[in-house]
Amino acid sequence: MTTFLALSITGLVVGCIYALTACGLVVTYTTSGVFNFAHGAIGMVAAFTYWQLSVGWGWPAPLAFLAVLLVLAPLLGAVVERVLIRPLYGAPIGVTLVATLGLLVTLLGVGFLVWPPDTTRVLPKFFEGHTVTVFSLVVDYNQLLVIVTSVVVAVGLRLFFSRTRLGIAMRAVVDDPELAALAGTKPERVSQLSWAMGASLAALAGVLLAPLQTLNVTELTLLVINGYAAAMAGRLRNLPATVAGALVIGVSSSLVLGYAGPQVVNYVRPAIPMILLFIAVLFLKQERLRAGSLAGLRMPRTTGLRQSVGVGVVFVVVAGFVSGQLSPAHLAIGSQGLVLAFVMLSLVLLSGYGGQVSLCQLTFAGLGAYAMGKTGGGALGLLAAIALPAAAGALVALTVVRLRGLFLALATLAFAQAMDQIFFNHALGYGGTLAIPRPRLPFVDTADDQVYFVLLAVVLALGSVGLLVLRRRAFGRRLIALNDSPAASATMGVSPVRTRLVVFTVSSAVAGLGGALLGGLHGSVSPNDFLLLNSCVLLLLATLGGLYTPTGAFLAAMSYALFPELQKLVPELGQVQFLLTGLGVLALGRNRYGVGGQLADAGEKLRALRLQRVGVARAAG
């Protein structure tokens, strides 16, 4: 009985912290429509800053606490809103997701840089040494503080958002900032305030959590994932349901882990939050009502068939020529870029054209590599490398096909993480590897790196041209139409479910093939190659490159592959890698369609100029 109570109390405290983080997520989402992946990272920075002030520089704890919570965190939130979020108003969900992912990476980097992990940092508990006894159970003041704070915050937020004009205004500006302004409210100021508030909540969770463990940059940042499921339980809008969800998750996982044997614990524990998230997402139904805005996406102009085939041929010829000039090391880099670009094409199709954001593309790539490795290559291997991920993709799509936008992204996130933990670790063994053969072709020897390089270039060119053709034809239009208005699409005879299913399946197959080719390039794969985090990076890069054009995918992949090389030349680059990501994400504010979009714009301008000149020439002649 005492074990039960003790476990429950521990679970309750943990649940309260989940509740705090989840509330923060909900606050940011309801007030800006952005799901802030960097929420935990903000909490992490706050916790470290608090350590720095109180332990490092010896400020009195309450002063440090207030300084972090009421000054520094809100300031950070306000700055983030101004430079990162505001320029992205109305951007598709994928872009805003990537923006906060970029923020996460940047803050992680800052954390490592400022507080290198080589020292152990511990925070004293609040009210160290004070305890109370409830039902023969010793509860310390720190635990009480957590519980009381969460209750107060949850109730306070609920009242604030439903009763006060400011709270209502915060929710209103997401719907329609223009109307908010007409009603006398400055929308920028209100959004900025809500980001400040969100950051403050993140900081509160971080600071409360910190004394319960040794400070660790990654752990603090990723802990927020446990809050995702809770936030979903409240459909990202309902605070009481969010808190209830968080408490249930906290207590039940504490009990399960307390009573179950260590094997189960080791095996299941890391996957628990994700499994819960997946379940929560599956039970979701309602989405936000569409605000009145009718502004569409401005996708870059697509090139014509002849032009894209021409570019493709030139690309392959150049690749053939270049392959002879490159050193083996450079050849490897180039191949890596080509094959990553191919994997990214799956994102161009799915997210760019189809508007469905996926955070599990590398999971499918991993499945492709796995199938290739297990079947021993050859034609059968290639077939399997396409079929297995396609089947898995179809399965996932069947369960999540009702979901759109953010909810789909979160479902894929959960899927990716669960696959990491359960499948890849199991199938490939912890830290193990699986040998992946290269596809065999008649007449050419793919074992030769040079040949393989050219082969990859051909595959990429074919994939890109295929994609462009698809985009220009009926199917491409149908995808965009479906994304713009599912209801109207359905009433003209398009089955939304089937169309999304097809896209998801095809995209998984492309990713799978890419994965098999990637595995073939290196000769083997390990579970670490397909981590969720890598999938996130893939999406991030693809978005920076421009999700709407194969060119963007190519550029993004190439620069990613080249990065280690650059780092060899300029070692300091490794230190500022995260800053570069941050800068890249900021650039999204200038053109949300990425580098590819920027290029397409430039092309458009050139074309306009030329037309003008032709016009002038005609007029003159």
């Binding site: 009718l294 996406l297 009926a474 149908r478 208005s485 699409s489 003209m492 398009v494 089955s495």
Partner: protein, 240 residues
């Protein structure tokens, strides 16, 4: 062509439709009018399958389609426009209509030249000039015409129009009336929801009046216009 039998819809405590029955005969232009919030759009949603009725049936021809999803109903010849505009805002005007024509082709109906028929339809509704514009640049009134053209591109046998005339100028609305009469002459059936009473009275053969989720009157335009119940609930005295 269409028969709605005893349809009831509830939203929480609100009964939006309380057992509505009506019929649209082949080749008829039937009006559905009524005060704001009477349940007209809800009825459209039930007919097209976007809303599940609590009770009641929807029949097309003599087939019960109550349990079919929206796209299946569309393929059986049902088209509609939306009161809260639902255009494909990332596409051009022409592509909006083209997408519908292509969709029709994809479900196996004969549609030899979708691009041409899209252009012809746009010409027909009077949007020939703006064909290449992005749709999000158009004023609201014209967006309604885009929706009409798009609905026509699926060549429906029954067309449900939800306030196609609102936001149109007097001239445009007259042209729309002529178009509707034309369409019916071609053998199409139309169910028209519209607050532009002049338009409704001019083109409809039969009118149903919906109020608080029930049909309160049915008749020819003349009968309906003279009905004191309808005047009190909807028209006001001046319009009679």
């Amino acid at each position: 062509m269409l028969r709605v039998e005893d349809v009831e819809v509830r939203f929480g405590g609100v009964q939006a439709l309380k057992g509505v029955s009506l019929e649209v005969p082949d080749g008829a232009l039937v009006g559905l009018i009524g005060p704001n919030g009477a349940g007209k759009t809800t009825l459209f949603n039930v007919i097209t399958g976007l809303e599940k009725p609590f009770r009641g049936r929807v029949l097309m021809g003599d087939q019960d389609v109550t349990s079919l999803p929206p796209h299946q109903r569309a393929r059986r010849g049902l088209g509609r426009t939306f009161q809260r505009i639902e255009v494909f805002s990332s596409l051009t005007v022409h592509e909006n209509v083209l997408a519908a024509a292509e969709a029709r082709r994809s479900w196996g109906r004969d549609e030899p030249e979708p691009a041409r028929s899209a252009s012809e339809l746009l010409e027909r509704v009077g949007l020939g000039d703006v064909e290449r514009e992005r749709v999000d640049k158009l004023p609201t009134g014209l967006l309604r015409l885009v929706e009409v053209a798009r609905a026509l591109a699926s060549r429906p046998r029954l067309l449900l129009l939800d306030e196609p005339g609102s936001g149109l100028s007097t001239h445009e609305s007259e042209a729309l009336g002529d178009l509707l009469v034309d369409l019916v002459r071609d053998g199409r059936s139309i169910l028209l929801v519209e607050h532009d009473v002049e338009l409704v009275m001019r083109v409809c053969q039969q009118i149903h009046v919906l109020d608080f989720g029930s049909i309160i009157a049915t008749g020819t335009p003349d009968q309906v216009q003279r009905d004191p119940v309808v005047q009190a609930a909807y028209l006001g005295t001046s319009a009679a």
